[in-house]
């Protein structure tokens, strides 16, 4: 199998003020509305979409978007809108929507429909993510009851999967959704359904759900691969316990990456933007992070609780570039340095998909492209073959586009040409 590299853009707001951390309570949920400038957003959205399209040209296997609400580091409440634009203007990369918080759609069947549209539009390039959703998005912004969120999520999943796989019109009598006529129209190109990715933040129940259904489990945290190893080890132990194949395709990981000509140049170019991300974008009021009932008892018992201590609210540390690089939060440096650490990361975590966070915080466009191009040309090729040919089922976790799909070079030329009038009289 080849390792899949997905260029991911969180779409952060680039203008959070210098005193954001001291003068504002939270980057998420109740972020100050006056910080958003819609006219500025016109340029920001296009810049970010241009970068995603550039990543397709650079040869990344996928381009990725996700869903957040009322969030200063993710101005993408509807990733499907962005994905639709990308599907039109790219032709190679998988369109990775990681994903739609399925319990938030009313009815969740909407996700089956929109993802089917995206799969058709992109010619079968969709990778479909089904996150449970963070408490900030799901509970505090979208008002879902924490203790019932998971149950609602599983029900939404069942509805969507049946909508994709049941060829007949059927009735769905759920606790949260009742539909008399479910009839997904359009249907996805990829059969029986697009590959499913479950982004997880550390809820251990999610592992079994992924393994029972053979979905990819992707650990999306910003804490880097060294901190992520404990959790991924737990996941792979569970894979072994359930006697599933150990294919790296079962797992993905999000990693912040900064590539430059030299290690020193990486610090010089990128450190201010990484610090912007960690010190401003991740400034979330801790009361929004864990509404009672959202995490299960099992997860609490396995987890860390330091964030809830009063003294740790005051002691919230200001991270430095050195902390970020040494702690593995950021893989940064020359192509050689980055390749070496990426190889270590991929092997340690045993992952088949890497969500490459190459734009972070308030990074300007030129730096983003510079880092991405160096990575694509000098790092990525040497990493693709890490897992060799050992795993026969490895490609089960990636999209399978149709060969003769419509490509932008065709449609864009056609769109600009006035069609010839038909010969003869028109009825």
């Amino acid at each position: 199998m080849t390792v899949k590299f997905c260029w991911f853009n969180l779409m952060p707001w680039p203008d959070l003020p210098d005193d954001f951390k001291t003068e504002h309570r939270s980057v998420w949920v109740d972020i100050d509305g006056s910080l958003f400038d819609p006219e500025r957003a016109n340029g920001v959205y296009h810049e970010y979409m241009d970068q995603l399209e550039f990543a397709d040209e650079l040869g990344f296997d996928g381009i990725g978007v996700n869903e957040h609400h009322q969030n200063g580091y993710g101005i993408m409440p509807s990733p499907n809108i962005i994905a639709a634009g990308l599907a039109r203007r790219t032709s190679q990369a998988a369109i990775c929507v990681i994903g739609n918080s399925i319990a938030l759609y009313n009815p969740p069947h909407r996700v089956a429909e929109e993802f089917a549209m995206l799969d058709c539009l992109s010619g079968g390039r969709l990778v479909a993510g089904f996150p449970v959703g963070t408490p900030m998005d799901t509970n505090f912004t979208y008002g879902q009851i924490p203790a019932l969120t998971r149950e609602k999520y599983y029900e939404a999943h069942d509805l969507i999967m049946e909508a994709w796989t049941n060829p007949d019109v059927f009735a769905f009598d759920g606790k949260y959704t009742q539909l008399r006529y479910v009839n997904c129209w359009p249907k996805p190109i990829q059969q029986p359904h697009p590959p499913i990715y479950i982004p997880g933040g550390g809820s251990i129940e999610t592992w079994d759900f992924c393994l029972e259904n053979d979905y990819n489990y992707s650990y999306l945290s910003f804490n880097g691969y060294l901190a992520g190893q404990t959790l991924m080890d737990g996941y792979w132990n569970r894979v072994g316990e359930l006697d599933k194949s150990m294919t790296p395709g079962r797992a993905g990981f999000a990693q912040i990456i900064c590539t430059a000509a030299t290690d020193a140049e990486a610090e010089e170019l990128y450190s201010e933007h990484m610090l912007y991300f960690f010190n401003r974008c991740l400034h979330v009021f801790p009361g929004f992070a864990d509404p009672p009932g959202y995490r299960t008892v099992k997860t609490i018992q396995a987890g860390k609780l330091d964030q809830f201590r009063k003294e740790n609210q005051a002691l919230f540390k200001r991270l430095t570039w050195k902390d970020l690089v040494e702690g593995g939060y950021v893989i940064a440096g020359s192509p050689d340095t980055v390749r070496e650490r990426m190889e270590d990361m991929i092997k340690r975590l045993r992952v088949g998909t890497v969500f490459c966070l190459l734009h972070m915080g308030n990074m300007p466009d030129w730096k983003t492209r510079y880092s991405s191009q160096l990575f694509a040309e000098k790092v990525m090729p040497g990493l693709r073959g890490i897992w060799g040919d050992e795993f026969a089922d490895a490609e089960d976790w990636w999209c399978k586009p149709m060969d003769d799909r419509v490509r932008p070079e065709d449609t864009m030329a056609d769109a600009r040409r006035y069609p010839e009038a038909p010969k003869g009289p028109v009825a």
């Binding site: 949920v29 509970n139 505090f140 008002g143 009851i145 924490p146 203790a147 019932l148 606790k175 009021f285 801790p286 009361g287 929004f288 509404p291 009672p292 009932g293 959202y294 995490r295 299960t296 008892v297 609490i300 018992q301 609780l305 809830f308 201590r309 009063k310 609210q313």
Partner: protein, 292 residues
């Protein structure tokens, strides 16, 4: 925030029941001062989202004033883990009646409230008040009188209720108590949260109990009771702390306006945790209302 054992004999006996819905949970019974066979009226008392704390001075006080108090521990507030069987407001209200049935408080020998001329008295604090009110709306003919202590269940746009679900544990006392220093002690029982095991136990209890409370209180503690309030024709006393910073006294007026037969009593020196801050005043007001 669970009941703690104290050295002196508790003022109540605890029985464990299983309802017909197969929910198992303990029930506290406070026998009246005159003794179990005195034919005293019975009060079904429902706790708030904090659960029963210690011996509950108000419940003991009502028993001391001659009332029999039956006080179920709501699912999730005990070690029994049947809370998944209850999902919404209707489930909660029916569970209250299921407990009353299981405890023999409805019909049959020893079930009637002689003093009140039949029917059961209901009392509830905060979330418990919300449930009691819904029970009364479902089956007003089974209720004699009702006392609600700063109940949840309404939402006034001009008086938004602070979001307890987004509060860190150490922020609660400030909102819940007129005197936050007293509150800290009542809420934590003096537990040391620098100890990881204590903190984990606390967080698990919080997840279960407040997660359960969230089924009727999150994200807005309003399940449209006001549309059913017209059914609650029983005489109802609303007791409110003047310093209630969670559900401010403006809500007392809203409840009084919504209920056909309600009176309000405001208590000084009390916040939302009024049964713990001014228990004697609460006992006096509730006793007077239920025995009048």
């Amino acid at each position: 925030m669970s009941a703690t054992d104290t050295a002196p004999a508790p003022a109540f006996e605890e029985v464990v029941i299983t309802t017909r819905r197969s929910v198992t949970a303990p029930v506290r019974v406070y026998e009246p001062a005159g003794g179990a066979s005195s034919g005293a009226a019975t009060v079904l008392a429902l706790h708030g989202a904090g659960g029963w704390l210690g011996d509950e001075p108000v419940l003991a006080g009502l028993a001391g004033a001659g009332l029999r108090v039956v006080a179920p521990v709501w699912p999730a507030w005990s070690e029994h883990t049947d809370e998944d069987r209850l999902s919404d407001m209707q489930d909660f209200a029916l569970h209250g009646w299921d407990v009353a049935t299981e405890m023999g408080l409805l019909g049959g020998e020893g079930a009637s409230n002689g003093a009140a001329g039949g029917g059961l008295h209901l009392m509830g604090h905060s979330m418990g008040g919300m449930i009691a009110a819904e029970m009364a709306a479902l089956a007003p003919q089974s209720v004699a009188r009702m006392a609600l202590l700063c109940p949840a269940g309404m939402w006034l746009g001009d008086h938004p209720i602070p979001d307890i679900f987004a509060m860190l544990p150490y922020q609660l006392a400030e909102v819940l108590f007129a005197d936050p220093n007293v509150g800290e002690e009542v809420l934590t029982g003096g537990a040391d949260f620098s100890d990881n095991e204590t903190l984990t136990r606390f967080m698990v209890a919080r997840a279960r109990q407040q997660g359960m409370a969230g089924k009727i209180l999150f994200p807005i503690p309003n399940r449209r009771f006001s549309e059913r309030a017209y059914r609650v024709t029983v005489p109802t006393l609303l007791v409110w702390g003047r310093q209630d910073r969670l559900i401010p006294p403006a809500y007392a007026d809203a409840w009084q306006a919504a209920l056909p037969d309600a009176t309000v009593e405001l208590v000084d020196g009390a916040g939302h945790m009024l049964p713990y801050e001014q228990s004697a005043a609460v006992v006096a007001a509730v006793t007077s209302h239920l025995t009048s």
